[in-house]
Amino acid sequence: MTIDRAGVVTLVNAMAADLLPEVAPGVDLAACPVPALAEAAAAGSDAFETDHHGRRLRGVRRPLADDRSAWYVRDVTEEHARTDALLAERSRTAFLAEAGSRLGLSLHREQTLRTAVTLPVPYLADAAVVVHRPPPPAEDQPHWLRYAIGDPGPVTGLAGWPTVESVPGLVEALEGDLTEPSPWLDAELADLAEVLPAGFGRPGTVLISPMPSAGGPAGALVLARRRDRPGFDKREIGLAREFARRAGAALAAAELYGEQAHLARVLQNSLLPPELPRLPGMTLAGGYRAAGDSLRIGGDFYDLFPTGDGGLFALGDVCGKGVGAAVLTGRVRQSLQTLRLVEQRPRELLELLNRALLDAPDAARRAQFTTLLLGALRREPDGGLLIRVAGGGHPAPLVVRAGGGVETVRVGGMPVGALTDARFADAEVRLAPGDLLLAYTDGVTEARGGPTEPAMFGDARLRQALATGAGLPPAALVDRVLQLVDEWLDGQPHDDIAMLAVAAG
């Protein structure tokens, strides 16, 4: 198509006539009924692109001699559709990649639910709601979690079965029935209003997708769009279903982890060192650091039982690490708890414990033993403490005098639970007010670390730490030793560590 210097069309070829039937020779191009072209002509620009009669047209202007020019117009409908599809595919891939990485982050159920409702907004919908049934022991009531444009964060609530049943397709999705989800219009949405934000109005379209998982349905994803937004097209429905599937899988993994974590926590709570009871006339503090694993339980333990004239403490180390050792630890603590009712003298109690442990049906097979200190604490009239310590093959406790001296309380004895004719020993020590006794496990002295060549923390460093901390309250001293050992370890793995400190006064 060519135009003269006044902008009037002079010549139109067959292709141009087909694409732009409105533009005939003699027409002023700047006033032609194809707005994009008219604009380009009026503004003197060199290109235009427009949708015209169901086609996508792209034109460029090339100057000719004598100030005339030619417009070359092409039908780019297919090319354009391909580009659109490519861009859409790209954004879909980006969305799914983002969804995959974000959904994979947390193993916590609530956290995963929050991610599942925030991700589709605004890309897929103006509001997203996950309706889910919390795992037992919670009551089987559907809950919802919503995130909509304008919400500062996800909002939660209890849905109740009547609401759920009133929304077509929701019950089916919740039961995991893979009904073909379809966007529906004009259905009875009155009850959905309670889960949508105030002012959202009647949604334009709603799409419900089940969130399936290996262990059964994890919930249902409800995507709602406002009335002024177009409905879901086929591609978006596919994307929503794929997203719901991934969210369902992530939710199932989180639920499984939650179950396991609950189990571990129950076990952990029964095996963690106890809160020490307050006993008159003395101050006690314990310190505990489990080796490596995230369960934070292990083979070291301490306990304290009140008695008529004071208390009885136990501090021990079951051979082995982790859950296996922790379970035997539980058994030793349980046995002590019971046996002390019939025997409160430490050495005799050790003998009784030895028999009890060896008498257990599977004792021979497990071949696990325990090193242990038992100490009877008795208040003295002058405010001091008389301590009788019995030992079963455990590192000797140390006494820190108020003046800074550190003494070893030699106890001796053989490990508990290993031999039927094991012999145990005991020793007695007096604490004046301000003195302190520290019982510890070998995790303290055998901590391997140091700033250069790995070396053990050792007795000398422990004694020095205690000497410089003489006079500190037990809690502060235990913290100080824990801190020094931690610095010594400098992030290296370590064995279980337990300490118990008691001071007179």
């Binding site: 947390s106 609530e110 974590a261 700033p451 250069t452 901390g469 824990l482 931690d486 610095e487």
Partner: protein, 344 residues
């Protein structure tokens, strides 16, 4: 800084005054738990908020305790005993806070950090602002933090770091939290002046005080602060991190301190190497320069500037294949306050 909205309204003239602070310090000096708790409770009964008492009394007193310890007027034992009393005061005031009505946040001290009083104060101030706060304790190993986050799914982690040489560990904890889908708010001077290094390791924000922590939590936390953290700017980071022990050994051998000082000096060198690695991680020479200046004072009795120059020189020679790291070391050597017999 926005004050927490639920703060009671002590008139401006009713701030906790220096006399009250002095009286509280006397209780600390005497390790008098009962007196200290009674004084703090009395202030709350007088209409001061728990946050006021914790920030303007307990935290202020703790700064003074630290100063007395640094200047040598208090022994380690006195400092420990005083801190212990303040911890009990924090416990006592914490017990007066009502049930939570907002989300759940977790407070943790970076692994290796044992001075937990500041973190406990933050815990109670944030709790007083209505949050459910779990205090995981001093020196929290990264794996404990991660397992806790997966088990409880909190809204945010508050991470305290006091010394910049622990930034590498802090970075590891931030990375672990982000990977668990939980954003981190950083706090404490370890993240640099105005917390400038906090964002480099992926924290969502930084605060200097307990009140800042409350203000930071007022803002919505975005999901962009979860997932992979910003990567280290330099390949040398991983290389130097791997050679950490070897570098400490080399520098110690070069200094060759007398045996009874060897462990102190070795620990000092290890801290300096950590500060170097942190400086590479956050891409800021200031970190190492400040740290070297600070070390110089700490090492005065052990040879001071000469020892530092020997250490920095040895590290430079050992790391020649990483020119940018060498440049940092040189900048630290030249930037540190000059000493008559020193830099050159």
């Amino acid at each position: 800084m926005t004050p927490p909205p639920d703060r009671p309204t002590p008139a401006p003239e009713r701030r906790i005054g220096p006399e009250t602070l002095a009286a509280y310090l006397d209780h600390l000096d005497a390790a008098d738990r009962t007196g200290a708790v009674a004084l703090a409770r009395g202030l709350v009964a007088d209409g001061f908020s728990v946050a006021d008492v914790l920030v303007d009394l307990v935290a202020a007193a703790q700064r003074e305790v630290g100063r007395r310890w640094l200047t040598g007027s208090w022994s380690v034992a006195q400092e420990h005993a005083a801190t212990h009393v303040s911890e009990q005061v924090v416990d006592a005031l914490g017990a007066t806070t009502g049930p939570p009505r907002r989300g759940h946040v977790v407070m943790a001290c970076v692994e290796g950090e044992w001075h937990a009083l500041a973190a406990r104060i933050v815990t109670e101030v944030v709790r007083a602002a209505g949050w459910r706060v779990t205090f995981l304790g001093a020196s929290v190993p990264a794996r404990h933090l991660v397992s806790y986050l997966h088990q409880t799914g909190p809204d945010a982690v508050l991470l305290s770091c006091v010394q910049p040489n622990r930034l590498v560990r802090a970075a590891r904890m931030v990375e672990a939290s982000r990977a668990a889908g939980v954003p981190v708010l950083a706090g404490g001077p370890g993240f640099g002046p105005d917390g400038r290094w906090a964002t480099a390791i992926g924290a969502a924000g930084w605060g200097a005080s307990a009140r800042d922590a409350v203000a930071l939590l007022e803002r919505p936390l975005s999901a962009e602060h979860t997932g992979a953290p910003p990567p280290p700017p330099d390949d040398a980071y991983v290389a130097v991190l791997h050679r950490r022990r070897e570098l400490v050994r080399l520098a110690l051998a070069a200094v060759d301190p007398p045996p009874d000082h060897a462990e102190d000096v070795a620990a000092g060198i290890a801290h300096l190497v950590d500060a170097l690695i942190a400086a590479v991680r956050v891409d800021d020479d200031l970190l190492l320069r400040d740290f070297v200046g600070w070390q110089e004072e700490a090492l005065t009795s052990r040879g001071g500037r000469a020892v530092l120059d020997e250490v920095l020189g040895t590290l430079e020679r050992a790391l020649t294949e990483h020119p940018r790291v060498v440049a940092r070391l040189r900048a630290a050597r030249e930037g540190a306050p000059a000493d008559p017999g020193g830099a050159g």
